[in-house]
């Protein structure tokens, strides 16, 4: 006879977003893994290490639409990575921490489509080890503010209802006022977050595009309107917020589109409150660009010529990207974003 738990598991598996769940043998019985499994209701396949399967063969990116697998694993090797120049505000060390690979969203410009050999999601559950590495880094940089960014290889909030690690990172910030954590997201999944008290060094940053652009290129993500609503709710709760207008994609109406976005932000009093706003014009490594061409041949991204730029990335030409970035910067300043809160991302200069 079917127990209620078994019935729940069958039901959950049917509606699950996961095709298969793989778990590393060594962590199968850990409470964190068991908790995730109980929420998915699926019976896992057990592996020695996740990379026995994950990334072993080239799985086309868009297969994530119908056969997305989840891997639960421990991150080995480098747990923190020094962020590249112009990653965040200048003059302070920036790192990103790796708690996951790949993302449930499908943004047409996403570099993950050319980064890994598989779109399958890996969730690393050894957060204590990641946090220990972060602590070590803070101690080594005593007296300096050190930034830790989440969301480099995965959206930092989208699966937090499943993974439940936010409280650990929040606690780290509470104990280390010189450390700043930035959670980069497009998600409106703030249930876990809203259970925590706001901290000055625990910043939630939202990637935003004008509504009509987001609709075309940020596939399977919450709408811009929904993201702004969530930002507004977090602001009311006292959370520190930031925004990324990145990537800015050329359309003939891009100035009026960004004006509209800033107006919407102003309607919720968000522009003046931003801790920082980063601006970046769309850019790709060559491999990612090829993937974007293959995966989204009719995307608006392909509506304007690009060139191979100074760092071998594929971008609009220099005058064009400077013009676009400066145009949006002027609009942001006029909308009330503080001048020293704006930084230009991944560009050698303005």
């Amino acid at each position: 006879m079917n127990s209620p738990l078994r019935l729940f598991r069958i039901f959950a598996a049917v509606i699950s977003m996961w095709n298969k769940i793989y778990v590393e043998e060594a962590i199968l019985n850990s409470p964190r893994v068991q908790n995730i499994l109980s929420k998915t209701g699926m019976v896992p396949l057990v592996l020695k290490t996740y990379d026995e399967i994950w990334g072993k063969s080239k799985k086309p990116y868009l297969h994530k639409r119908d056969s997305l697998n989840l891997f639960l694993a421990e991150k080995k090797g480098q747990l923190l990575k020094l962020a590249p120049d112009a990653y965040g505000t200048a003059g302070e060390p920036h790192y990103y921490f790796i708690h996951a690979y790949n993302c449930i969203y499908e943004c047409q410009y996403c570099y993950l489509q050319g980064y890994f050999n598989s779109p399958d999601i890996v969730l690393f559950i050894n957060h204590e080890e990641i946090l220990a590495e972060m602590q070590k880094t803070v101690d080594e940089n005593s007296g300096t503010r050190v930034w830790f960014h989440a969301g480099e290889f995965s959206d930092s909030l989208a699966l937090t209802h499943l993974t439940g690690e936010l409280a650990l990172y929040h606690d780290f910030c509470k104990k280390n006022p010189k450390a700043v954590i930035e959670l980069r997201t497009k998600s409106v999944n703030t249930k876990e977050l809203l259970e925590l008290e706001p901290l000055d060094n625990f910043i939630i940053s939202f990637s935003l595009s004008p509504q009509k652009v987001a609709k075309e290129i940020d596939l399977k993500t919450p709408s811009t309107k929904a993201r702004l609503k969530t930002m507004s709710e977090l602001k009311k709760r006292g959370y520190k917020l930031a925004a990324h207008f990145d990537p800015i994609v050329y359309q003939d109406t891009f100035k009026s589109d960004y004006q509209e976005l800033l107006n919407q932000m102003n309607d919720s009093d968000l522009t003046k409150e931003l801790d920082y706003l980063s601006l970046g014009v769309v850019r790709f490594t060559k491999d990612v660009y090829r993937e974007v061409e293959r995966n989204y041949p009719d995307s608006v991204i392909h509506g304007t010529p690009m060139i191979k730029s100074f760092d071998n990335k594929v971008r609009y030409n220099h005058p064009m990207r400077m013009w676009m970035m400066n145009s949006v910067k002027e609009l942001a300043l006029a909308a009330g974003v503080k001048s020293d809160a704006i930084y230009l991302c991944m560009e050698e200069h303005a």
């Binding site: 050329y250 304007t304 191979k308 005058p319 013009w323 400066n326």
Partner: protein, 330 residues
Amino acid sequence: MAHLGEAQSVIELFQLKRTTPHLFEGEALTCLITGEGPFEAATATSALLAQKTFTNVINLGIAGSLSNDFQVGEIHPVRSIYLVIEGKPQFKSFKSFDQGLDCVTSFERILTPDKARTLTGVAALIDREAWGVAMAAKKAAVNFSSYKLISDQAGSLGACEMVKDKAQEWSQKLALFLATKITGNNIKQEVSEYPGFYFTFTTRHQFDHLVKMLSIREKKSIAEILNELPFENLRELKLSPKDRARKLLSTLEDKVDPLKARLQSELLKWKTPFEKKGITLNTDQTWETPEVKVSFSIQTDEDLKKVIGELNELSLEAFQNLRSGHLNVE
């Protein structure tokens, strides 16, 4: 040919059918993808020549230049082919034509200027397969010839990237060249649906690409975009079909690139006064580098003083402003 990428346009142009993973066959031409490296090329060619009878073996492909005397994109007949192993030239060489450039086939990729430098005395060109193909053809007593398209400066930074970037263009160029050699005529790809316009393989590809780009940008169908193009106006101009096609491409480029026309006109405004005085200002066509190359010719000290005086009037500010996107574009 060594790579499928190089051979793609030959396969298309001669309508060759794939018969094995590395073999494409047609009525008058068979194309073998030998793979990279003299050993691979020799074994693949030998195996094919053992199975079928051929009157000629042509090795067609790209090569790096070991000399500064030739331009990237040029196609040359090969005279002699040498082999180097670990930088050391080997005894056996093969002849292709009486005239042409010498080519050295290398077992390894030449990725640094130092490695390239030591080979500049051996040959003007360097490739990865000609020697192997030549050896197999000679052993089978089949006529052998080789043509090489210069794809890059051997050992230079970014050579591999450049070759990848240009793969399609080089492939088309090689295919048209081969057609010329085989049929004795240039195969002209007149685009019948646009009478009065002449497109080469390359310009046709550009045309299709720009039309697609515009259709994405303006959210219109390809047919709608084509309907809006000024074919009739251009036909009335007294231009050759080739120039007319170029003009059409330029019109399309202006449409897809919102800044191009404005940038070019402003750049010209900055350059022209100096060019009238014999001073040429060369800037990066892609606008990526801030470098400006200034060139002029002088014969006397008087000329020199005059140019120095003119150069005192030169300011880079206008160019830098353009590069920084200060255009007052709405």
